[in-house]
């Protein structure tokens, strides 16, 4: 019994027991459902072992949406807790766990897979390739990420959630102050998911550099591909810092090393320093692909080519270097001298310049454009003013002297939600709406979509603008309650109402998906938005091999030219196509990683060692495996093409 005690949640409450029961019921329902409909074979053949970038992309999307739900529930609980003074809905420990998991889930397990979904689905289509450079590595990336995310979410019901903030600063995150296994989950689950992300980065850099269609020079790539390329470069250079950092943190917690302890030569603030060496580039990893999506959407619906292509690219390259030069602005109050603070203050303000260039480029694209107000365009138009507001408060925060007033207050919380929600979340929903017909063959309902956009924006303004005010008045972040005499209660209630409206907006998005599945027309062709880049040049649904004939490109908007200027995209004739084989190895290896991670969290060494041997065995097997892929014959391609062309106009 002693052995099993460690798996108990150290700080249980009614909510956690409720969640345990609902998770158990949901899992049983899924297993029974799959068995009843006899879908195990289908699931295994078509999804679990797939190396197809489109299917892997859709699996990323599913995880991202699930995690959005989980992080959103966390958010609503926090807003409800703070909506009234001296509220007892959550106690302090529970509140700590909720804000910690909200941060990690939203950044690492919602936003990251969401952008990776776009990388996976779009990049090979946009550059006219048949898959990514390393399809099997791509599957491994996904499954490692998935297992990391699941391990992290397990902390909720087994052993206790991490509770020292998404930044997990030492010494608070050390063994002395965080005694439960929660922070072990943080270290190991993020490590496993981070390995997947690093592999994704390498994979997509190679894909973009090596697999572009003939004629597509670097400066002729679609803007989303450019943004994804820059983001993946940042991934490759930023994530190793996180890997090392988490490994050091794990050793501190599990093996008694002294990297971040307060005595024995440890340097507790080094964690904060290295965390942000990774953490700041990370926010640009999220925002750059979002910018890329906005560029695609704005130029499509302004019916103009993107203004300032070269300056767009240049500003992203500058951002990619500057993103590594600003990290100390996250801890101006840590105690370093004015020289350091001044340097990082100036670099931080400077990074607003390339971002401003991009904003102006979008405005100039809209200028004199024939603007079509579709749902994705509505999000993009709402993004520009709301994001700029967040950017301006960012420059306020960049002033190190003034930062002593803002640091650790709700002002900061308002700022980063103000850039992440209109910046990243809007882009994700806009991109999802924009590419939905490409993926599933029908469009989401426009009327419901616009309602969602407006509700989300009204909710967003109500939820986060009041935080600027309470923050300046001194409401600290991560404080689980406040007394009535502080006067924060009215604005916090407004905030809660805003959060509730946002929740309604997300529910409406889900309803929109349901409604469109039932009622939307399937007769939309392969280019319903009259769009401009190569991903729209192939059939809907996209065949396994993407393009029967590899397109030839002469400009940044090859597909538009082929529609309007008579450019011939598909020259030559159909030849047999070489495709990679499916493989169960990535899935199996990631399952072993899950076991390894779980036993590391609870220090069950024998199981951890066996799992480690299993991982090495998988790697060895792969090294000696001979897999030359397979060919799709010309007849088969012609048959598929004939079938798909029927739906094309």
């Amino acid at each position: 019994m002693d052995f099993f005690n460690r798996f108990a949640v150290p700080h249980p409450s009614f909510l956690i027991y409720g969640a345990m029961v609902s998770i158990a019921i949901a899992m049983i329902a899924v297993v029974v459902g799959i068995t009843y409909f006899k879908k195990w074979g289908y699931l295994w053949r078509e999804w679990l072992t797939t190396v197809d970038h489109k299917r892997i992309g859709i699996m990323y999307l599913i995880v991202a949406l699930l995690m959005l739900f989980r992080g959103g529930v966390d958010a609503i609980m926090m807003r409800y807790q703070l909506s009234m003074p001296d509220n007892t809905f959550l106690d302090s420990q529970h509140y700590n766990e909720v804000f910690t998991t909200h941060g990690i889930v939203m950044i690492l397990f919602m936003a990251m897979p969401f952008i990776t979904f776009f990388f996976n689905y779009l990049i090979p289509l946009q550059i006219g390739a048949r898959d990514v450079a390393f399809p099997r590595l791509n599957a491994l990336s996904f499954w490692l990420f998935f297992m990391g995310a699941m391990l992290f979410n397990m902390s909720f019901v087994v052993g206790g959630s991490p509770d020292s903030g998404w930044t997990s600063y030492f010494p608070l995150a050390g063994n002395e102050f965080s005694t439960s296994v929660g922070t072990n989950y943080y270290m190991i689950a993020i490590q496993i998911a981070g390995m997947g992300t690093l592999m994704t980065g390498i994979n997509f850099i190679t894909t973009i550099l090596k697999m572009r269609a003939p004629g597509m020079k670097l400066m002729k790539m679609p803007m989303f591909t450019w943004s994804a390329f820059i983001a993946n470069v940042i991934v490759v250079f930023a994530f190793p810092v996180l890997t090392v950092l988490l490994a050091m943190g794990t050793m501190d917690r599990l093996f008694g090393t002294n990297f971040f302890t307060t005595d024995n030569g440890g340097m507790d603030m080094l964690w904060a320093n290295l965390f942000w060496v990774w953490g700041h580039p990370e926010v640009y990893i999220l925002i750059l692909p979002a910018f890329g999506l906005y560029s695609e959407i704005i130029s499509t619906f302004a019916r103009r080519n993107l203004y300032g292509y070269k300056s767009m690219v240049a500003s992203m390259v500058v951002i990619s270097i500057f993103s590594f030069l600003v990290w100390a602005h996250h801890f101006f109050t840590m105690g370093q001298g004015p020289l350091t603070n001044s340097i990082f203050s100036i670099t931080t303000m400077a990074i607003a310049v390339p971002t401003g260039v991009k904003i102006f480029n979008w405005l100039f694209t809209l200028w004199k454009g024939k603007i079509v107000f579709t749902t994705p365009m509505l999000y993009s138009i709402l993004f520009i003013p709301l994001f700029t507001l967040g950017g301006v408060t960012g420059v306020m925060l960049a002033m190190s002297a003034a930062d002593y007033q803002y640091h650790n207050t709700m002002f900061l919380v308002a700022h980063f939600h103000n850039v992440i929600i209109p910046g990243v979340v809007y882009a994700m929903i806009a991109g999802l709406t924009f590419y939905w017909p490409k993926m599933f063959g029908f469009m989401l309902n426009e009327k419901l979509g616009k309602w969602t956009a407006w509700l989300l924006s009204v909710g967003f303004v109500l939820a986060f603008i009041p935080m600027y005010i309470t923050g300046l008045d001194g409401q600290a972040r991560r404080m689980y309650t406040y007394s009535e005499s502080t006067g924060f209660s009215t604005l916090n209630m407004v905030s809660f109402i805003g959060a509730a409206i946002m929740a309604v907006a997300f529910a409406l998005l889900v309803y929109n998906i349901y409604y469109s599945i039932r009622y939307a027309s399937r007769d939309i062709g392969s280019d319903p938005w009259d769009a401009r880049s190569l991903e729209w040049a192939t059939h809907t649904p996209v065949p396994e091999y993407n393009f029967a004939i590899i397109p030839e490109v002469a400009s940044t908007e090859a597909f538009w030219d082929s529609k309007k200027k008579g450019h011939e995209l598909f020259k030559g004739k159909i030849e047999k196509i070489h495709m990679p084989n499916n493989s169960p190895l990535p899935f199996i290896m990631s399952c072993i990683f899950f076991v390894f991670g779980f036993s590391m969290v609870f220090s069950i060494w024998p199981v951890a060692i066996i799992a480690l041997i299993g991982i090495l065995a998988c790697l060895t097997y792969r090294s000696f495996e001979k897999d030359h892929g397979r060919y799709i014959s010309v007849e088969e391609i012609e048959e598929t093409e004939a079938k798909l062309r029927g739906a094309k106009k």
């Binding site: 550099l209 470069v233 250079f237 810092v241 340097m267 603030m269 080094l270 320093n273 290295l274 060496v277 270097i321 590594f324 030069l325 990290w327 100390a328 105690g335 370093q336 001298g337 020289l339 350091t340 340097i343």
Partner: protein
């Protein structure tokens, strides 16, 4: 015969052995900590450069430009991280 003999690789191999031997001096002789670290860092970085250029053929394909751009970018980021951290954590505390 001359064009068949991989002179560059053999010289590279000898040079990398020399570098290893020089690095070992830091362990076997009694010198100050900073001198030892200087020797180790220098030999390590020269060694890494040698491996990338001679044995991993960094400059021998059409990808020469992107490979070197990547390496320079990586070196830049590493230097920024190390010296920035020293500035933040040690020099200006």
């Amino acid at each position: 015969m001359k064009e068949l003999f991989p002179l560059k690789q053999v010289m590279g191999f000898v040079f990398s052995l020399v570098l290893t031997a020089v690095a070992l001096i830091a362990y076997f002789t009694d010198m100050s900590f900073s001198l030892g670290m200087t020797i180790l860092l220098l030999t390590a970085f020269i060694q890494a450069g040698l491996q990338i250029v001679v044995f991993m053929h960094a400059g021998e394909t059409n990808d020469k430009k992107s490979i070197y751009t990547n390496i320079y970018y990586g070196v830049l980021i590493a230097l920024i991280t190390i010296f920035g951290t020293l500035l933040v954590m040690v020099w200006d505390m």
